[in-house]
Symmetry: C2
Subunit: 89 residues, 2 copies
């Protein structure tokens, strides 16, 4: 049963990497929701702090790993929006 | 401290809704990674089953809610890929 939990945690953590790779490679963030990645990155940061406060190792590790691709996607989306705004003015 | 955990869970759960709304409204899935949503949807399904097996209410609820937008994005991406394949032949 614990194995299913580890499988679930691995799948949801690993899943953000193909999206981050696709986003960084293509530079295309048009279909990516800024709100999703703003809320999600804030959410996993809260999970990480919660893990630190409750001294929960797996929670800290899983969220620290997920923060890398999620933060990268958020940064690319933000950068594309700023570049778009600059072009319009 | 528990409040921070609930905040974290709410943020990561809620975050998928703006992406699903954007994807359904625009129909644009070009920048969306099929692999991400395939792995993520499988992952939260595993989390849900793990929640059922361990009788963990919050785990069942959070993952059942997340399954709706994540599954919707996966379905739209899959549909767009199939439509693209049909056009090429």
């Amino acid at each position: 049963m614990a194995l299913l939990g580890y499988l679930a945690a691995s799948l949801t953590t690993v899943s953000f990497f193909p999206q981050a790779i696709k986003t960084v490679r293509s530079g295309d963030t048009s279909a990516i929701s800024l709100r999703m990645y703003a809320l999600f990155t804030l959410g996993i940061s809260c999970w990480g702090v919660y893990g630190l406060l409750t001294a929960d190792g797996p929670l800290i590790v899983a969220n620290a790993i997920t923060l890398v691709p999620a933060g990268l996607i958020l940064e690319r989306k933000g950068r594309a929006l700023l570049a778009g705004r600059r072009r319009r003015h």
